[in-house]
Amino acid sequence: MSEITRQPTRTGTALALSAAGFAILALGFTTSTAAVGGLAATVALAAGLVRGSRRIVDAAGGLFFLSLLFAGASGAGTEALLLAAVGSILAWDLADNARSVGAHLGRETDTRRLELVHAAATLVVLAVGAAVVYGADRAAAGGQPITAVVLLLVGVVALVAVVAR
């Protein structure tokens, strides 16, 4: 054997592509263009995992993001968009982790426990976040005046600047 194969792990690739599939499914409940965008993003993700390239995986993440934007702008349902967002972020995260674990440990090592724990952690955070955001939306009944929206946007911008590393 001698040298390890420093390519993204098989477990990680399977997990990432499953998450991507879920995202496509969720996008399918929005517009068809967004769903096609999601499909293209999944293909890019697979390509990035085959070649072990950080750039291509990031580009796939970008494609997912654009699909989400398009879906949202075309008036998608909140539930579908949130689920698609969860799926997309999870897919990117698992793909990048598969690449990282492969670079550190190689394909020959059994990394199932490691990657499943990581996937579970990310999934929990995303699910809780989606639930909180959805709950807040449900709690705020009806359409909102523009002032509220603007103030919230400014607030989000500022908080992001604080919270980002």
Binding site: F65, G72, T78, D93, V117, H118, A121, V132, D137, R165
Partner: protein, 422 residues
Amino acid sequence: MSRGFDTERWTGLDGLVLVAAAAGVFTRESSLLLAAGLGVVVLGYVRVAAIPEVSLRIERDLSDATPDPDDEVEVTLRVTNEGSSTLFDLRVVDGVPPALGVVDGSARLGTALRPGATATATYTVTAVRGEHAWDETVVVVRDPSGAVESRETVDAETTLRCEPELAATADLPLRGLTSKYAGRVETDVPGSGLEFASIREYRHGDPIRRIDWNRRARTGELATVEFREERAASVVLVVDTRSEAHVAPDDEGETAVERSVDAASVAFSALLDGGDSVGVAAFGPDECWLAPSSGVDHRARARRLFATHPAFAPTPPDGAFFPSVAVRRLRRRLASDAQVIFCSPLVDDYGVSVARRLEAYGHAVTVVSPDPTTTSTVGARLARIERDLRLRELRGSGVRVVDWGDESLGVALARAEAGWSR
């Protein structure tokens, strides 16, 4: 805790959140604002990422700590989390000794460990002569989001000692390597170990016992018989261990130094069995000298030396080396009648000069040269030509050379011997 460094993994997410929020405002779609909110939650998760104190214990077990060469040894690595916090993302790389290669399984392990939990990795290495110590184990720890990473090392002392038996095969043709007749000696008693050599004219003062009475009876002349003592030879096996000698035709198989040590250990055993007193020396940055002697203890000492002395390790040395100093030192240590068997691949010109110098100092030199050249590239073919020219040069100046290629050592010695007796 401020342990570890930022992997920059989530860089750019804040930008995506802003773009999504802006798009949400622009299109008046609350769904996009919610997606941006989800992004903010993830950013918060990344912001609070931290690695706890890492406290790991490592245990390493070998299925056989003293194997024979080419045996497969199974190594079991156990990693235990001795800290009080869960380590969610642990990536372990074991420090396999440089001279050993992993042939089965993986010397790496990836897992999540609760406090007190243990993870195990099993792999197999092939044993190679020498004393091999494991390096430190490298551990990469990450937090669950992957935003913070830390590199730690853990040690567990483990040594694999492979000391092959010094047993020569019975049919090893070593007669040609040393000359049994060391010189003329006058002794009183003709007995075992003495052989008739010649008759010369009687000189005043020769002992009466030595007079050839048969001739006196036949011709009336006085003549003295001389005997040659069949004395055990004193042989020193000098192994070329300079960094230049650490070459190999490919990544499988043994290096030239390993083959030289193989030849030396086999020759040692055979010569010792034949009654000679044999010593060992290393010609290289790491000094090694075992004076010629014989006996069971000496054999055991040599066996240990070949197996564990750092000079004979399969990894190239990195110390400074002053060749002329080494030659002078070797010359001082060699007894005047000691013969030398020089084991070297002869891949550079200095090896040739060492052999010739020792021969010039009066020691009978035989060179046993394993052939590490190949024909895979232009340079390799040239190296083969150069080595051939060196062998010819040595043979031309009267040094016996055994060219040991891919065949077994016995076959190479037999072939060389046949050449010498022609």
